[in-house]
């Protein structure tokens, strides 16, 4: 096929946009392993900064992983059954519940954090523990789990599957655990990836909710950007990318199961409404 000049103009523009997205990432990775970034790569490659970051900030990484996994557990327990109920009994009440669950995405994290602090700040044990951060992460990520599972449930004919199982004598829990859950798997996977990714990177809420003893990875990043030399900040960012990018790649691959199902049956797709900023 002959390519018109317009094609190359558009290609050049798109490559320029890609450069805008990827060049700073590459630069920060390079800076994280360069002995002296100001002098350039010529000053030699080193893992010194990464080692230093590990010494300074390993605690924040550990806490972030713990919170992300706890958040995943909480959103699975709370979100998956709720999505099932919303799909099973559509109607005004279901619509209202869904609106309520999704509302935290529409409110800036800073506002939610101020609400949490002014409501629970007096409960010192809670305020000072990482559970306080977890509470914020759960309300912020729960909608993504519910939406992902709900989208898959609406795209498959789970009612017929359930009726089939019921006619064979399966009770409620047998149907829920043995028929509904296995069929939701793509949605559960997409929702889980989203929840873990968002929790690991959450800053807007976490910056307000953290204490000196409950610093998460993004809080540590902000800290290093403000007070450390560029190489250390870059090495820390590099460590963050090593954790986050595999999740993002998996998310690109498995993040929209409903869209794939939609090609067979036309049901609305889910595009994540907001990611943290």
């Amino acid at each position: 096929m002959k390519r018109a000049g317009l094609f190359y103009a558009q290609l050049a523009f798109t490559i320029l946009v890609c450069a805008f997205m990827v060049v700073p990432v590459v630069l920060s990775i390079l800076a994280g392993v360069t002995a002296n970034f100001f002098q350039g790569i010529g000053s030699g490659l080193t893992l010194r900064w990464v080692v230093q970051v590990w010494g300074l900030y390993a605690d924040t990484i550990r806490l972030s992983v713990i919170i992300a996994l706890a958040c995943l557990a909480a959103t699975l327990i709370a979100g998956v059954p709720t999505a099932y109920v919303l799909a099973k009994r559509p109607g005004r009440v279901a619509r209202l519940i869904e609106e309520l669950l999704v509302l935290p995405i529409a409110i800036p994290g800073l506002a939610i954090a101020l609400g949490l602090i002014t409501t629970y700040g007096a409960f010192e044990g809670f305020r000072k523990s990482w559970l306080f951060i977890l509470a914020g992460h759960v309300v912020f990520t729960l909608p993504f789990m519910v939406r992902a599972v709900l989208a898959v449930l609406l795209a498959i004919d789970f009612r017929t599957l359930e009726e089939g199982a019921a006619s064979l004598g399966a009770g409620f829990w047998q149907r829920f655990l043995g028929v509904v859950l296995p069929n939701c798997r793509p949605g559960i996977l997409a929702g889980s990836l989203m929840v873990v990714t968002l929790s690991l990177g959450e800053f807007n809420l976490t910056w307000m909710l953290h204490t000196p003893l409950t610093k998460t990875l993004p809080v540590g990043l902000a800290d290093s950007y403000a007070s450390m030399r560029l190489e250390v900040a870059s090495a820390y960012t590099l460590v963050f990318f090593v954790i986050l990018v595999p999740l993002l790649v998996l998310l690109q691959r498995f993040g929209q199961p409903a869209r794939r199902a939609e090609r067979a049956a036309p049901v609305a797709a889910t595009v994540p409404e907001r990611a943290p900023a």
């Binding site: 798109t14 100001f38 800073l110 409501t119 994540p272 990611a275």
Partner: protein, 279 residues
């Protein structure tokens, strides 16, 4: 809608119970805190006047106006970039296309703080743009810590999610309409203006509103860049932590939350049910 089905009555309480963990979490950690915040906003020395003050005191009005202006500008620029690249990538098949799509959508979940650092890598004191300009002209261009830097950061984090929405919408366009317009003698530009863009309108409005709301509420990027323009999120943060003016911080948060919520709701009602389901 599905045909009426028999609902075994005994299942209703069980189904209600299944939603309890989610409802409890949202009520305890979102609804109650937001109610508390609304009340706190009205509990200061000015009472309900705190909300009026949030909308009339010059310092807050300036911050609000600057944030709205910045967010609107970011939205327009992002829509233009994402529409151009998104349409191109959806319509052409060539080697390396998947790589370009992956690059454009990968930063989808980069936190704001990290994006602030990306801006520093590009336009900061040791940034790429500064070194290039210094080598070429002897003049070191540094704009990471100004409004331009913040603008660049917001466009950076908006591109991935807008481009995803536009590509999904472009995939569903009816190519026959374009062929018809072309056979009637329409130029490339006319086809884009009169056929493609109107068809993409719902996606543009929806993703534009999401982009606007996200930029309004964004905090991490401005925090990292310690920008010299006071976006609303930074003003709220300063009121709360440095001035200890809790009532005003609460009132401003409620105003900000109301704006982002209205933007998303209006977009949803304008774009109809399919986008409502898509969110």
């Amino acid at each position: 809608m599905a045909a009426p089905r028999r609902h075994p009555r005994s299942e209703a309480p069980l189904l209600a119970a299944l939603t309890l963990p989610a409802l409890a979490a949202v009520v305890a950690f979102f609804v109650l805190p937001m109610i508390r915040l609304v009340m706190l906003g009205a509990a200061g020395p000015e009472g309900l006047g705190a909300y009026a003050a949030a909308l009339t005191t010059p310092r807050y009005v300036e911050s609000l106006a600057a944030t709205i202006l910045l967010s609107a500008g970011v939205t327009l620029v992002t829509l233009a970039i994402a529409a151009a690249s998104g349409l191109f990538l959806e319509r052409n098949r060539f080697r390396g296309r998947q790589v370009l799509i992956a690059i454009l959508t990968l930063p989808l979940a980069f936190p704001g703080v990290v994006i602030g650092f990306m801006v520093i890598m590009l336009a900061g004191r040791q940034g790429l743009i500064g070194s290039i300009s210094a080598a070429l002209t002897g003049q070191k261009i540094v704009f990471a810590y100004s409004a331009a830097g913040l603008f660049m950061g917001y466009v950076y984090f908006s591109i991935p999610r807008v481009i995803l929405t536009i590509m999904a919408a472009a995939e569903k366009l009816d190519r026959a309409l374009e062929e018809a317009a072309r056979s009637l003698g329409a130029s490339n530009w006319q086809v884009v203006r009169d056929v493609v863009l109107p068809a993409l309108r719902p996606a543009l409005i929806a993703s534009g509103a999401i982009c606007f709301a996200t930029a309004m509420g964004a905090f991490g990027t401005a925090f990292t860049l310690a920008t010299n323009i006071d976006v609303l999120a930074m003003t709220i943060y300063t009121e709360f932590t440095l001035q200890a003016n809790f009532a005003m911080a609460a009132a401003l948060s409620i105003v900000l939350g109301a704006i982002t919520w209205v933007a998303l709701t209006v977009a949803r009602s304008l774009t109809g049910a399919t986008v409502a389901a898509a969110g």
